[in-house]
């Protein structure tokens, strides 16, 4: 149980910067999920906290003590690796007991703790087996067990579900969350999967090119993305973006596709003529039966069961997605409108959220 503070954490490999001064504070028992595409620096961040790589600058505080230069063996953090990194020549019991033996715990204590953890993870029947005799899901649980028996101050998860099949992933995801809540261990969880990120996180850190683009609760990240990258990254299918120019005293936007649309709120968004990027999620687009100024040319319909995803283009050639209830209208052209309350406005130059 501990707090974790990262202060200006920076990492460069040679001249290539991968992490630019990250600041974040995790409260006791909080689960922070770090999500981003490949090469965004999320795994590097985890390795810095674990002590497997030295940071180029910045500090790491665990429970208020500076552990930046501390040997990884002394940090009291446990990590669940993507490939589980189980010790192949040891039984499940020995895999879990390894860290405890190194701590010099009495044999009976070790046995009790391993058996208790095995009970929690339904591994009791498998304690005598070697890792190669286990299924993927079982290996994953052993990796979890190895982390929890040590009762560390901090859990680090490095994409622990990415080697599981889709069905198992949903179940293990829920198991991890329940376990983490019950044990109330402060956790850093790295993933590239936004569904995992949304479902597991107390707070999300969306990483982009070595920066934290946004650190907030999943709901807030979804409802108020801090920039265009976050808007496009979180949410499936991805948010639509259209280029537009402010007009009507900053209260309307003239889309590149033609029509002028209402903007949310009463206050002006900026001077007329300012270029903005307007984002709207596919499920928030409204399909109209009567003609509207905005027309979507549909070129692909993807049925998703209860819903369908329409791929199309606007009159200016911009690609645009709309999610509609199933079955989708079998027409080539759809009239749509963009409700003002569902719009997200971004600065077209910096990509930052407006308002």
């Amino acid at each position: 149980m501990a707090t974790l503070e990262l202060l200006g954490l920076t990492k460069s490999f040679g001249k290539t910067p991968v992490l630019h001064g990250l600041d974040v504070r995790l409260e006791d028992g909080e689960m922070l999920v770090i999500v981003g595409g490949s090469g965004c620096g999320k795994s590097t961040l985890l390795r810095l906290v674990a002590g497997l790589e030295p940071p180029s600058a910045g500090r790491i505080l665990l429970d208020g003590t500076d552990i930046t230069a501390l040997d990884p063996a002394k940090r009291d953090v446990a990590m669940v690796f993507q490939n589980y990194a189980l010790y192949p020549h040891m039984s499940v019991f020995d895999n879990m007991a390894y860290g405890l033996k190194l701590k010099g715990l009495p044999k009976t204590d070790i046995r009790n703790r391993v058996e208790e953890a095995a009970e929690t993870l339904s591994l009791s029947a498998l304690l005598g087996r070697k890792p190669r005799e286990l299924s993927g899901g079982q290996r994953q649980r052993v990796a979890m067990g190895r982390a929890i028996v040590r009762e560390p101050k901090l859990f680090l998860f490095d994409e622990p579900l990415s080697n599981l099949d889709a069905k198992l992933r949903v179940q293990v995801r829920a198991d991890i969350r329940k376990l983490q809540k019950r044990l109330n261990v402060t956790s850093l969880y790295v993933t590239h999967d936004q569904v995992e990120a949304m479902t597991l996180a107390d707070r999300l850190a969306v990483m982009h090119e070595g920066h934290a683009a946004q650190i907030a609760t999943p709901v807030e990240v979804f409802a108020r993305p801090a920039d265009r990258f976050v808007g496009g990254f979180i949410g499936e299918p991805a948010m639509n973006f259209c280029a537009a120019t402010l007009c009507g005293g900053g209260r309307l936007a003239k889309l590149a596709a033609g029509p002028e649309i209402d903007l949310p709120g009463e206050t002006p968004w900026g001077a007329d003529g300012t270029e903005v990027s307007i984002g709207i999620r596919p499920q928030h687009v409204v399909v109209k039966s009567e003609p509207t100024p905005l027309r979507l040319t549909v070129n692909l319909v993807e049925p998703l069961g209860s819903e369908a995803l329409l791929h199309g283009t606007l009159s200016d050639g911009e690609t645009f997605h709309v999610r509609v209830p199933f079955p989708a209208p079998a027409v080539q052209n759809l009239f749509i409108s963009l409700p003002a309350t569902q719009l997200h406005l971004f600065d077209s130059a910096t990509g930052k959220r407006l308002g």
Partner: protein, 292 residues
Amino acid sequence: MERRTLFNSRLLPAVLVAPQLAITFIFFLLPAGGAFYQSTQSTDAFGLNTVFVGLRNFASLVTSPQYHEALVRTAVFCVIVTNLSMAGGLVFASFANRSIHGRFLYRILLIWPYAIAPALTSVIFVFLFQPQIGLITNLLAGFGINFNYATNSNQALALVVLIAAWKQVSYNFIFYLAALQSVPRSIIEAATLDGARSFHRFRTMIWPMLMPTTLFLVVTNLVYSAFDTFDVIYALTGGGPGTATDVLVVKVYRDGVINLDLGGSAAQSVLLMAGIVGLIIMQFRITTRRST
């Protein structure tokens, strides 16, 4: 399922396998057969009379105290050389496996000894240990140690052990380096986070994972030191002083070619062959078990 290639005539396949069969026959089966034949014969010192003696050559080996001594000497030699060269290979490989500057050069240099002809290896060591002018001999003399492998039996044995091990270090180095590089990094990292310091990581993680390689190398090194060190030893000491470095392979040569006891020498060769076949079978067992 087995895939069979179809040929129109029988001539082409026969021509294709002929060279390999010829090599096997001329260079392996024929000499081996010759050794078997010789081992049942006894020839007088002038090579004028040869008589069939059955297994008497073997019988006299089994009862010969000299042969027993050579057997023990060879066993000691093999065990020390194997240990020394494997330990050396592992230590160097552990260093080379770290990300250090110039590690490419370092690796090449370590592989070099293996490329030197065995007899020349001994010549190099003669420069270092020659009783009168050797570089290291003089150095040792400075510490009051009189090093003379030509007269001191223990020193002679120690020197051939050193040379034989030195030459084999490269081989072990390559295998251990490959094995170390195939140890998954995440496992070592997991052990680190579990609190294991470097010595402990080696003992509990790396060493067990190197076990298949170690088993393989033990057999290979035993074969090497028992059967493949003739040139090194013969070029340096010729088996002497006295019989100090007279291991089995050297004894075969001394008894047969120098002392002209062809029958006894052939019988020793046959026994060596049996030994090597035993070791090779062991090695096959180990390697095939590893691949399954």
